[in-house]
């Protein structure tokens, strides 16, 4: 059982407020991802949970126990660091045994745990190697192994994939997901990459400027973002936000055409709507239906292609196009709604 509760947690470095009151509950065996742009406080929050930095204000409970003043090594929490932080003078076996021995486990237990972890992470061949003799991916596995042998209640992972090359990244991502299923501990994972967050998380915590913007499953965040920050942060390419004027069930841009949208909320005439790349189509022929636009850039990705186009009011939108289509740059074109999927943002949902 591992249940984490954060109540009004604040962090201040000298006079700079980094976290402005975080309230969060994390359940047993949950895989939670903290995601947000650099400097949003996600790593700081992780360090507070680990105990590496003291909490300025507020409380942190692990299984109903107040942890604010408990030393990091006594919290039953293990952490995997961004740079792996392996001990360079110890071989792989020693790296994993060090923490286990310090927990006061006897020799056979330490050996058994290392054997189990190295089997799970395919480290058997590497036990006698020093960290500098390992590749990035191998070091990553050792760092995870070192956390595993301590059998912690909570695993913290601080941007564990950021030092790996792209090809390895998705492999290790799968491995972490598999690991979470098989060992079943509570995992908290910090990343700035929304793809990692979407693929791994049971729940995502989106953070910005020291605050939590929204907590929810990947699907909730994608389909019902709480505000424009979450809406544009989740999803790639990002959602286009367009300031429109509503006339009946049509929304338009001044001198830029209009599109028809059903199920509009009754929230005044001027509003912001969000359209994801798959909600629009783009075509070279201009007619009365649709926004007028001009393509500024195209991206070909093999199974998909994206066209980036500028609307009459200067808003840059992205549109998914069939990979076979060829859109010419700088040519005027029309932009229509292909599905009725859109999100409208009344002023109170417009974040920064």
């Amino acid at each position: 059982m591992a249940r984490l509760v954060l109540r009004g947690v604040k962090k201040r470095f000298k006079t700079t407020d980094v976290l402005h009151g975080i309230d969060l509950e994390i359940g047993d065996r949950e895989f939670v991802v903290f995601v947000g742009p650099s400097g949003c406080g996600k790593s700081t929050l992780l360090r507070l949970i680990a105990g590496l930095d003291p909490i300025t204000e507020g409380e942190f409970f692990l299984n109903e126990q107040r942890m604010n003043d408990v030393a990091p090594s006594k919290r039953g929490i293990a952490m995997v660091f961004q740079s792996y932080a392996l001990y360079p003078h110890m071989d792989v076996y020693e790296n994993m045994a060090f923490g286990a021995r310090l927990m006061g486990l006897d020799k056979t237990e330490v050996e058994a745990r290392i054997a189990e972890a190295s089997r799970m992470l395919r480290l058997d061949e590497l036990l006698k190697r020093k960290p500098r003799e390992l590749s990035g991916g191998q070091r990553q596995r050792v760092a995870i192994g070192r956390a595993l042998v301590r059998k912690p209640e909570v695993f913290l992972l601080d941007e564990p994939l950021s030092n790996l090359d792209a090809a390895l990244r998705s492999d290790v991502r799968l491995e972490i997901a598999r690991l979470h299923r098989s060992i079943g501990g509570t995992m908290i994972y910090v990343t700035h990459d929304q793809v990692e967050a979407m693929t791994l998380a049971d729940r995502i915590v989106v953070m910005n400027l020291g605050r939590i913007e929204q907590v929810g499953s990947p699907r909730e965040l994608y389909e019902t973002p709480a505000n424009t920050f979450v809406a544009t942060f989740i999803g790639s390419p990002k959602m286009a936000l367009i300031d429109v004027i509503r006339q009946g069930d049509r929304v338009g841009i001044a001198d830029g055409g209009s599109i028809g949208l059903s199920n509009m909320p009754d929230a005044g005439d001027r509003l912001k709507i969000g359209l994801r790349p798959d909600a629009l189509t783009i075509s070279p022929d201009m007619d009365s239906e649709g926004f007028s636009a001009s393509v500024v850039y195209t991206e070909y990705l093999g199974d998909n292609a994206y066209a980036y186009a500028r609307l009459a009011d200067g808003t840059l939108i992205s549109v998914r196009t069939p990979p076979t289509s060829s859109m010419n740059r700088m040519r005027p074109c029309g932009c229509r709604s292909s599905s009725q999927r859109h999100i409208s943002f009344p002023p109170k949902m417009v974040g920064d």
Partner: protein, 306 residues
């Protein structure tokens, strides 16, 4: 065929390299080689006598009274080395650790610890000679003032304490150097490794012994080797504080003083013997070079494991 043309770049390189090379050759290499040669001759004052093979070496090592003088001085050098290993390098490591952990006042102490190192040994020697003066020295005065009269000793005047007083003065003077080198080594340890240790233990002792100490191995190599060389070349401080005879009664005599006395004579006796002196110098040189190489190789191997 590549020829070094004395134009442009080649000329610059030559112009910059030749003067220092000439200097080293003239004032370091030539004296060492000539000392090697002198050691095999019998000398009458400045007059070179017969080639006597290993007679001079034999004398300083096995013939009395030279043999016991050599033994006495050598023993003292060994004591100095081990004492400074603890008082200078050991204390330096602890000071570095305290500075590195940013204990209160770390900023001030970082400078305070290193300040004596920049003082010349001559100044430090005279300073401590005054401090340790039996009657008006600050050490004895304060010992009496705080009610510890047994601490008021003629530190430099009795054979049981004189060498220790010198060792202490040297440690005070130079402790900032190993401190600085260790501190630099500690600051190179990545913070994430230290965070990783904190996740596994809260014991400072485990942290020092298992993580910090092995990771500052390169710094340890540097300060160990330099201390070894320094301890067996020790000359200035005992010369200033105890005099050329290693007074009282040779209780502070070390190889450096003994060699100087033998080769160039002494105020009281005036005898000088280049042959014996050179033999001593050669022996000291060979001993230091050999042992320092072994220490370096051994300690480097420890580093490579890192």
């Amino acid at each position: 065929m590549a020829r070094l043309r004395l134009t442009g770049r080649g000329m610059w390189i030559t112009a910059l390299i030749v003067p220092p090379l000439a200097f080293v050759a003239l004032f370091i290499v030539y004296p060492i080689i000539s000392a090697f040669a002198y050691a095999f001759y019998d000398w009458q004052g400045l007059l070179r006598g017969d080639f006597v093979w290993f007679d001079n070496f034999h004398k300083v090592l096995f013939v009395e009274p030279y043999a016991s003088w050599t033994r006495n001085a050598f023993t003292h050098n060994i004591m100095v080395f081990f004492a400074l290993m603890v008082l200078q390098n050991g204390v330096g490591f602890l000071l570095a650790y305290a500075l590195w952990r940013e204990l209160p006042g770390a900023r001030f102490h970082r400078i305070a610890v290193f300040l004596p190192v920049v003082l010349s040994t001559i100044i430090v020697g005279y300073l401590w000679k005054l401090f340790l003066h039996p009657l008006f020295g600050v050490v004895n005065q304060s010992a009496r003032a705080i009610g510890l009269p047994w601490l008021a000793q003629p530190w430099l005047g009795q054979d049981s304490t004189a060498l220790w007083a010198l060792i202490f003065a040297n440690a005070w003077h130079m402790v900032g150097f190993p401190t600085l080198v260790f501190l630099a080594g500690m600051q190179r340890i990545p913070t994430e490794i230290l965070d990783a240790v904190r996740m596994e233990t809260q014991s400072e002792w485990v942290k020092i012994r298992k993580i910090v100490w092995p990771l500052v191995a390169p710094s340890a190599t540097v300060v160990f080797v330099l201390l070894f060389v320094g301890a067996f070349n020790w000359f200035e401080l005992p010369y200033i504080m105890a005099g050329l005879d290693g007074s009282p009664y040779g209780s502070t005599d070390v190889l450096g003083l003994y060699f100087y006395r033998t080769a160039f004579g002494n105020v009281s006796s005036g005898q000088q013997d280049f042959g014996l002196g050179s033999a001593l110098a050669v022996l000291i040189f060979v001993f230091i070079a050999a042992v320092a190489s072994v220490i370096t190789v051994r300690l480097r191997a420890r580093e490579i494991q890192v």
